[in-house]
Assembly symmetry: C2
Homo-oligomer: 264 residues x 2
């Protein structure tokens, strides 16, 4: 007779996904979600009260290179076997990059100390067919020096109510934005990196929309400081589209990785 | 009263496309084609016996960075206006990169002197979700020195019957393969560049399949020389998939651009 299974063990997953086909990370009634797709794949591989807890939500259409989640599972599989088995069951637009067995005191959301997002702007006159759905196409020049000056005003601990679409539904909109980097990339790309303790709903995309307006000389950098003070969403330009945004890395513990150099 | 229109003028188009949604370049009864999509877009912009002649066919699912075609059109638009108008009408997976007015003696197919194809292999253990449909995933090491040795056997003027799926339906299967380059790329990519006067049906993909078999030590390089001699398709391994292949450049006139360095 087979040995009885041990109790549930916790696994930490590093996950990459193309957000195009999903209503976001979070389980929701009327759209496929990355979380539900992972739970469905895990259900075939073990027993227990299977849930996959992410480090946080990503919106509809937003991508991830490095979402982190944990999963409690009663299974005979070890971490490597679970890794292969999950990828064999998942659709090709979600890949589990690594699986580690972790202790129960690791929590993907509550143990996270920082998140790093990447936003990719493509400034080419014509958008390549191979960049569709992966970048925000903003053809033509942007004043990067002005954008960096504006970014310096945003870094720090502030009430970001003016930079969230749902700020009025939440009691506390103060967040620590640790750093912004604005880095020219290859092929007429501009990369915007945001690192912070946490982000409000739509906050990164709203910051990007505001910074692009600054780069187009449609919004003076001082307006960003004013927006942090008055909290008025209506004076901040349109939110940047989701398909240029990537949850790049979730950090556990401080100072583990330096940000790329370039500015701010 | 408006001035009567002049007669048809010839325009040269440089075209990029993502081949995933198309049955190939060529008009065909049961699948959408890049050529038919371009003709449909051009029909709204002028009159005449509108046809779009490409430099050659690409198979179902094959991509292009630099397909070249010509179009004869009776139109009041100049080349720049036609360029913008075509892109406004085309779906996002086809982009016209440039439009030039050319004389009637330019012919996209008959004036071409060489074509350059790029094949992209991804050797990463896990294929990134963002590379899906753009590369052939061949995880693990390949013996590049052996592949280069094998490539040297293929370069030159040969009967490539053994490297085409339809060789037996054509009278002449001799082609000049000018060069092959095998270049390590970024992110565990291996880039294979083929330049030749012309290519048989499926020839580049068959050459790639054979070179990968050499790189896996499943086919000795000498077998490629034998295949050129005996013309027997059955001893050559499976054809590489279409989605790693890009029609990179069509050359008109000799020696216009050096190939990237690296080998062969």
């Amino acid at each position: 007779m087979a040995e009885p299974l041990a109790e549930a063990r916790r696994f930490r997953l590093l996950i990459e996904y193309d957000g195009a086909a999903y209503g976001g990370w979070q389980i929701q009634p009327n759209a496929p979600s990355v979380q539900a797709t992972l739970i469905k794949a895990a259900r075939d591989l073990g027993t227990g009260d299977i849930d996959v807890q992410g480090s946080g939500r990503t919106d509809a259409g937003v991508h991830a290179f490095g979402q982190v989640a944990h999963l409690d599972l009663v299974t005979r599989l070890d971490a490597d076997e679970l890794h292969r088995a999950l990828n064999a069951k998942l659709p090709r637009d979600i890949r589990v990059r690594t699986v580690q067995a972790v202790s129960d005191d690791f929590h993907a959301r509550y143990s996270a100390t920082s998140k790093r997002y990447l936003y990719v702007i493509d400034q080419a006159r014509l958008l390549s067919v191979f960049a569709r759905g992966r970048v925000w196409h903003v053809p033509g020049p942007l004043d990067i020096a002005e954008m960096r000056q504006a970014a310096r005003r945003l870094v720090g601990r502030h009430d970001f109510s003016a930079f969230s679409s749902k700020a009025n539904t939440r009691p506390d909109n103060v967040r620590l934005l640790r750093a912004i980097r604005i880095l020219p990339g290859r092929h007429e790309r501009l990369l915007l990196v945001f690192e912070g303790e946490g982000f409000l709903y739509n906050m990164v995309r709203t910051l990007v929309g505001a910074l692009v307006a600054v780069g187009h000389d449609r919004l003076p950098p001082v307006e960003l400081s004013a927006a942090l003070d008055h909290g008025d969403r209506s004076r901040i330009p349109a939110t940047a589209p989701p398909y240029g945004l990537y949850l790049w890395r979730v950090l556990y513990g401080r100072g583990t990785e330096p940000l790329p150099e370039g500015s701010c």
